[in-house]
């Protein structure tokens, strides 16, 4: 199976085969072999040259897959070469900026109104979770064009709170 694997910001072309408790991966022409087993669902023990790597595959609340090796998080993503389209094009902002919730929580205060001029780093609203208040600041100078939440509302991490033009 030919795959592209992104790790530490770099994409590697890999060839992968597995079965019978063994896995083989070729990266840049170098072959790595490992014994692999899954003692608990989602927990893998990978032995490379008799060295033990305890690996956990985990799903974050946001739905992202994560791999921890010996309990250290290693960011890695896999793409099927046939399907890989060349990097997700995160739509750039073109002068518009969204304010997003930094964490799940509750909006406890909104300090501006639609139409207000705002300055970069100006506090726009306060989100509270776990008894901690976090001020969400404007990323740029501009005008508040949209406020999507109201005081007292519960929000998820990453949810768009307001838009600044």
């Amino acid at each position: 199976m030919k795959l592209d694997i992104e790790i530490g910001g770099k994409i590697y072309a890999a060839e992968f085969a597995a079965g019978n408790g063994m896995a083989r991966i070729a990266i840049d022409g170098k072959i790595h072999e490992a014994a692999i087993s899954e003692p608990e669902p989602g927990i893998f023990v990978v032995l490379i040259n008799e060295r033990v790597y305890s690996c956990v595959i985990d799903q974050t609340p946001a739905g992202r897959t994560e791999i921890h090796v010996n309990h250290d998080l290693i960011p890695v993503s896999v793409f099927d070469r046939k399907r890989f389209t060349g990097g997700s094009a995160g739509a750039t902002s073109h002068g518009r900026a969204s304010l997003t919730a930094p964490m799940p929580g509750k909006v406890v205060r909104i300090m501006v109104k639609v139409g207000d001029a705002v300055a970069a780093h100006q506090g726009i609203m306060v989100v509270e979770a776990m008894k901690m208040q976090n001020e969400v600041q404007s990323p740029k100078d501009g005008t508040m064009t949209e406020i999507r939440v109201s005081e007292g509302q519960t929000v998820n991490a990453g949810e768009v709170l307001a838009v600044i033009d």
Binding site: M1, L3, I5, I7, G8, K10, A14, F16, A18, G19, N20, G21, M22, A23, I25, I27, H32, A34, A35, I36, S37, E38, P41, G42, I43, F44, V46, I48, N49, R51, C55, V56, I57, D58, Q59, T60, P61, T65, H68, V69, N70, H71, D72, L73, I74, V76, V78, D80, M103, P104, G105, V108, R109, A129, M130, K131, M132, Q133, N134, T154
Partner: protein, 503 residues
């Protein structure tokens, strides 16, 4: 002794109190909010009473509902834990008026010592040195600016009713006062239901050291030595130790006697903690008294062998202290790390959510006081602390080694925690040398920034991660094409077939 105790709290401390009840043969009764229907403390109790909606202001802070639940259950006493209603004088009074025992000090002691402003006055009368500042709540930010101008910046704003870093702000200049004052009072209101804040001179690079006291209703007061709580971020303790890293029995004795004097002056009974700042010259200043069980009580328990919750319950039941000051000895060294649901890589942003996996450490010297389980949704409504991990060792070095080992075994999936942060702190040279003060974390974080190296080579952990990611991808691809072939533990088939050929 009580037959039944209602525990007016949640999370790890509720679990701790349930365990203390079991150890004493007392039946523990839980209360829970909407968000806590399936909480661990509910599952471990003998009885559990629903007390309202998720926000604490509608459940854990509503004294009436809690007293009502206690009445229904037939409990003879209420243990408030820490936080929530533990230092509300009116609650202690209402409990006693309902004919129940409040497991804590008298309402009068809470009133005197629980309010930081009154406490400072009382401490001064008892002869304790204090840090310059107001002894009255401030009216508004203008008032705060005036006082700060007199004693000189930097100053510290603090919640009159609270503790634990909530409603606390360092103010470096006149200009910052407005914003800082309103944030501090709002946090104070949100956390303690009381927006009052007061001000004091900010002493730089101090150690935050506290003395544990224990007193009965017959005037017997002893202390159980100090805890070093200087490692704080956002003025909240994250690592505590007993003894303090400088381990000075003479200083312990002096501070201990001062703390006992303050407690005695306040007619104090139950467990309580007297907090001090200690400067580089080992001068100490009274800060405040916490009229309740302290989060970090386990390190004292590990080193003295005294079960503080057991003693607290016995004192509340009217027992005389059976432990004398000369019975207390300090053996070895203990350290506690507070495991928070926070992301240390994003400035400790709260990280509530589902715990998808939980592996807790064990073995020699390790004590884990947890309030969660695998599958539990950590709610947004409450304190982010999910567990307190403590390690004991014959020496500070041994305690640190064991803590490092335990942190290495600890795994929490699905949410972020402070575990990786603690691993880094425990590897830090300054920490290992015991060069600790309340500015430690700031300096540590600066050191961390300069220490990060980007490394382009693929080493074995990266290869292992790639193999697991590729295996997972292959399995998912296979299950898309042959849905029936996808068993829950399909990799186990590998195991069955898996005679790995070796040289």
């Amino acid at each position: 002794m009580f037959r039944k105790i209602l525990i007016a709290n949640r999370g790890e401390i509720a679990v701790r109190l349930i365990r203390a009840c079991r150890d004493l043969g007392i039946s523990p009764v839980a209360v829970y909010s909407e968000a806590d229907r399936q909480a661990l403390h509910v599952r471990l109790a003998d009885e559990a009473y629903f007390i309202g909606d998720s926000p604490a202001s509608q459940s854990y802070l509503v004294g009436e509902k809690i007293i009502d639940a206690a009445r229904k259950s037939g409990a003879e006493a209420i243990h408030p834990g820490y936080g929530f209603l533990s230092e509300r004088e009116w609650f202690a009074r209402a409990v006693e008026e309902a004919g129940l025992t409040f497991i804590g000090p008298s309402p009068a002691s809470i009133e005197l010592m629980g309010d930081k402003v009154n406490a400072r006055e009382a401490a001064v009368k008892a002869g304790a040195p204090i840090v310059p500042g107001t002894t009255q709540p401030l009216m508004d930010f203008g008032d705060a600016q005036k006082v700060a101008g007199e004693i000189g910046y930097p100053v510290m704003l603090k919640a009159a009713a609270g503790g634990g870093g909530k409603g606390m702000r360092i103010v470096q200049s006149h200009e910052e006062m407005n914003a800082a004052f309103s944030m501090a009072s709002e946090e104070a209101r949100s956390a303690f239901g009381d927006p009052s804040v007061y001000i004091e001179k900010y002493i730089e690079r101090p150690r935050h050291i506290e003395i544990q006291v224990l007193a009965d209703k017959y005037g017997n007061v002893i202390h159980l030595g100090e805890r070093e709580c200087s490692i704080q971020r956002r003025h909240q303790k994250v690592i505590e130790e007993c003894p303090a890293s400088f381990n000075d029995p003479e200083l312990r004795d002096r501070m201990g006697r001062t703390a006992v004097g303050i407690a005695r002056a306040a007619g104090y009974y139950s467990v309580g903690t007297v907090e001090f700042l200690v400067d580089a010259g080992k001068n100490f200043y009274f800060l405040e008294m916490n009229t309740r069980l302290q989060v970090e009580h386990p390190v004292t328990e590990l080193v003295t062998g005294v079960d503080l919750v057991r003693e607290q319950i016995k004192v509340a039941a009217g027992d005389k202290l059976t432990i004398l000051q000369e019975d207390i000895d300090w053996k070895g060294s203990a350290i506690e790390c507070r495991i928070y649901a926070e992301d240390p890589q994003r400035n400790f942003l709260p990280s509530p959510g589902r715990i998808t996996r939980l592996r807790t450490p064990a073995g020699p010297g390790i004590r884990d006081d947890s309030g969660v389980y695998e599958g539990w949704d950590v709610p947004i409504h409450y304190d982010p602390m999910i567990s307190k991990l403590a390690a004991w060792g014959a020496s500070r070095d041994e305690a640190i080694s064991r803590m490092k080992r335990a942190l290495g075994e600890y795994f929490v999936g699905g949410i972020r925690t402070t575990i990786p942060f603690f691993k880094a702190v425990l590897d830090d040279d300054e920490f290992n040398r015991g060069e600790i003060d309340t500015g430690f974390i700031g300096r540590f974080q600066e050191r961390q920034k300069t220490g990060i190296l980007s490394d382009d080579t693929l080493d074995e952990p990266h290869i292992a991660a790639m193999i697991v990611a590729a295996s997972d991808y292959a399995r998912q691809a296979a299950s898309r094409t042959q849905p029936d072939a996808h068993a829950d533990r399909s990799f186990s088939k590998w195991k069955a077939a898996g005679r790995i050929s070796r040289k």
